[in-house]
């Protein structure tokens, strides 16, 4: 897609809502080097959200949408849960079909887009909660990795079933007392990042969304590696402040605590050799570009007498 496709015809422009005009005028579709720093100076691809006030998922959504390398050619696949309440507000095409089948949908979608648009990179990104990714959908999540399907899976890990009211999930910590775990969960948090690595993911990252630059880098790398090499997985801690008894302003502190030394979400990454090579190449290219830009700028400067 390019912006021509969303540009308004003059006759109908006056009846379209202002948010649409902003999207046409300042959204960063097609902008090279887009990232979280565009937030505030350009139209975001998420209009608003219907999550709880202060929910870390909402900021995760904003960072992810700002960090996609090519939103104009990206399709999201979601699943049932809190995330499915947000997708209707997002200006990137997205599919909600059922609960847990997101990686099956993405497999068919990615292969079809590859065939239909052999000369355009159409990225497919799955974004689902931990219930969808790890419990009901684990079979399809892992099978897509075994098959080396070339798309990114992002899991919003809030360590429980938030949308249905705080029930135990596989990613919940051991011992946590929740609905359906009245005496505390009696098995460990499922180690999906390790499982992802063993199942064939070329890039795995687990982190919180407290630091936008980290989220941007992880998302960008995950999408680029999925595009070029094979499946990638990003697990983001987005605590459900409502269900763990926090106030709406406490989400950030909760994430910072969880990622401090000894915490459950100390950032970790697994990168295959092939993926590391791609990251190195991308970084070298970026550096060369910056250098060239700097030199061009220098050359333009008038030489002082």
């Amino acid at each position: 897609m390019n912006k021509d496709k969303i540009t308004l015809c003059e006759e109908l422009a006056d009846i379209m809502p202002p948010e649409y005009h902003e999207l046409v005028e300042t959204a960063t579709y097609g902008k090279e080097g887009r990232g979280w720093k565009d937030i505030g100076s350009s139209k975001e691809l998420i209009e608003q959200h219907s999550l709880c006030a202060g929910c870390p998922e909402s900021i995760a959504f904003r960072y992810i949408l700002a960090s996609l390398p090519a939103p104009e050619n990206t399709v999201f696949v979601g699943s049932t849960g809190c995330t499915s309440l947000v997708f209707p507000h997002v200006a990137v095409q997205n599919i909600h079909s059922l609960f847990g089948n997101q990686n099956a949908i993405a497999s068919g979608l990615k292969r079809t887009l590859k065939r239909r648009f052999p000369d355009v990179e159409k990225d497919v990104v799955v974004l689902a909660g931990d219930g969808a990714t790890v419990d009901i959908g684990l079979d399809m999540t892992m099978q897509s990795w075994f098959r080396q399907e070339k798309f990114t899976t992002i899991c919003f890990d809030n360590e429980l079933y938030a949308n249905t009211g705080g029930q135990e999930s596989g990613l919940m910590q051991k011992g946590f007392v929740a609905k359906m775990a009245p005496a505390g969960k009696n098995f460990d948090k499922v180690r999906l990042p390790e499982i992802a690595r063993e199942a064939g993911c070329h890039y795995v990252a687990m982190l919180t969304v407290s630091k936008p630059n980290r989220v941007e880098k992880a998302i960008r790398q995950a999408v680029m590696i999925a595009r070029e090499i094979g499946p990638t997985y990003v697990q983001l801690y987005t605590p459900c402040i409502l269900e763990i008894g926090k106030q709406s302003m406490e989400g950030l502190d909760e994430m910072k605590d969880a990622e401090s030394i000894g915490g459950r979400f100390v950032m970790k990454e697994y990168i295959s050799d092939q993926a590391q090579q791609l990251i190195d190449d991308m970084e070298a290219e970026e550096k060369a570009k910056k250098k060239a830009a700097k030199e061009a700028k220098k050359a333009k400067k008038p030489v002082s007498a």
């Binding site: 897609m1 496709k5 969303i6 649409y20 999207l23 209009e47 219907s50 104009e72 050619n73 990206t74 399709v75 696949v77 499915s84 309440l85 997708f87 209707p88 507000h89 997002v90 200006a91 990137v92 095409q93 997205n94 599919i95 079909s97 059922l98 089948n101 099956a104 949908i105 993405a106 497999s107 068919g108 979608l109 990615k110 292969r111 079809t112 887009l113 065939r115 239909r116 648009f117 159409k122 079979d139 399809m140 099978q143 098959r147």
Partner: protein, 409 residues
């Protein structure tokens, strides 16, 4: 009803830009009318599974996803061979029927013509996907080679699974023979993909009886194929980021426990059902009506679908030898259900027998629900668990029933 329709007016002629051009397999993209009514057809003797392969070979299918389950495994594998020859763009084995139907949905969301096959327990495992396909307006075709769904394990033919599909919002066509199956698969794509229909279709046949027996089938030349699916004629956007991706709604309907939510969901369900009804006008000319009839002026009628119709034909011949005259109604489309056609065809009948290959008698229930004086409908005979239904069983049922009536007098 069953009025012959002249060839040029059968269905809207394909407007596809590729019409008349060739694909990489040297097949010419051809309008369905030309393929079925103008091109010369030649006889072939083959199994139902091979017939499915022959149909898909000329169907310009983009994606097919496979999973083994008897009795559709052979057909699904034969489609794999077509893929390796270059007739399909994408083909792979999924991990379960639930996943396969999701993978099919993904491919259809992305703009491909999609075909898959399943059977019995596979149909039930995949069930959650079918209303999702319909609600998402995905014109996927699933060929259901029906078999038992009961426990203990059965791989035998049984049409019970069709009853579970009745309210999914899919079109359902029930083939009697291998010829029907071939025709239904190709015509099914065309009807399901019409912009005012655009919903999934289940082309159903009775497992083993159709899939594993050989029959003579008249086939159009292999160097003709259907024009491709055009995803931009869909009534909902194709998910390829080639049309404006602007947010779809102000608030997700699921969050609105109010009038907006209720009316949105209610009207969407009505729309899916209306799309099923709108398929009639495309289906009637292509299938020569939703039902076939023979001698419906007789007092006794057999009304059925699938291979029970074939058994019925033989039963009619046997009864005729004894001087008992029986007429026949063959139902081709279960959804849309031919209400008016069946009512009209059975209006003179005093006894309507509905032989079925299942215990539940779902077809008899459907018929009872729409005909006046439905005490005329006799639900049966039934066989289940994979038994064949000898024509003599139908003969006995009719004679027994008539005998009881005579005795009462």
């Amino acid at each position: 009803m069953n009025k012959p329709v002249a060839s040029p007016n059968r269905v809207i002629k394909s407007q596809h830009v590729k019409l008349g051009t060739k694909n990489k397999m040297d097949q010419t993209y051809t309008d369905i009318n030309t393929m079925f009514y103008d091109a010369e057809r030649t006889p072939s003797f083959m199994t139902g599974s091979e017939v499915i392969r022959q149909a898909i070979k000329v169907a310009s299918v983009g994606t097919s996803v496979a999973y083994p389950i008897t009795p559709q495994s052979e057909a699904a594998a034969l489609i794999g061979e077509l893929y390796s020859e270059g007739y399909l763009e994408e083909y792979f084995r999924g991990e379960s029927e639930f996943a396969v139907m999701g993978q099919c949905a993904g491919a259809a969301f992305g703009g491909h013509r999609v075909f898959t096959t399943t059977a019995g327990p596979g149909t039930l495992r995949a069930m959650e996907n079918f209303p999702m396909w319909a609600g998402s307006r995905l014109p996927i075709q699933v060929c259901v080679t029906m078999r038992g769904v009961n426990s203990p394990l059965s791989i035998q033919p049984d049409t019970l699974e069709a009853s579970y599909l009745l309210e999914t919002g899919m079109l359902m066509w029930h083939a009697e023979t291998a010829q029907d199956l071939y025709d239904f698969i190709l015509k099914g794509f065309i009807v399901a993909e019409q912009p005012d229909v655009h919903i999934p279709i289940a082309t159903m046949c009775d497992g083993f009886f159709v899939t594993h027996t050989k029959d003579t089938v008249m086939l159009p030349p292999e160097n003709l194929c259907l024009t491709p699916y055009d995803p931009y004629k869909s009534p909902v956007p194709c998910m390829d980021m080639e049309c404006p991706p602007i947010r779809m709604m102000r608030d997700p309907f699921v969050m609105k426990s109010n009038y907006i939510s209720y009316s949105t969901h209610a009207s969407w369900q009505q729309e899916v059902r209306a799309a099923v009804e709108r398929s009639r006008k495309h289906t009637i000319p292509l299938l020569d009506g939703l039902i076939d009839v023979e001698n419906i002026d007789r007092e006794i009628l057999l009304v059925s679908s699938g291979t029970a119709v074939s058994q019925g034909r033989e039963a009619i011949r046997l009864l005729e030898e004894e001087g008992i005259k029986v007429g026949l109604v063959k139902i081709k489309t279960i959804r849309p259900f031919p209400h008016e056609e069946i009512k009209e065809a059975t209006k003179r009948a005093k006894h309507i027998f509905v032989p079925e290959f299942n215990m539940a008698g779902w077809l008899a229930r459907e018929i009872k629900a729409i005909v006046p004086n439905n005490e005329r409908v006799v639900a049966g005979p039934h066989v289940a668990g994979g038994m064949t239904m000898p024509s003599e069983v139908i003969v006995e049922e009719i004679k027994k029933y008539l005998g009881i009536e005579v005795a009462r007098k």
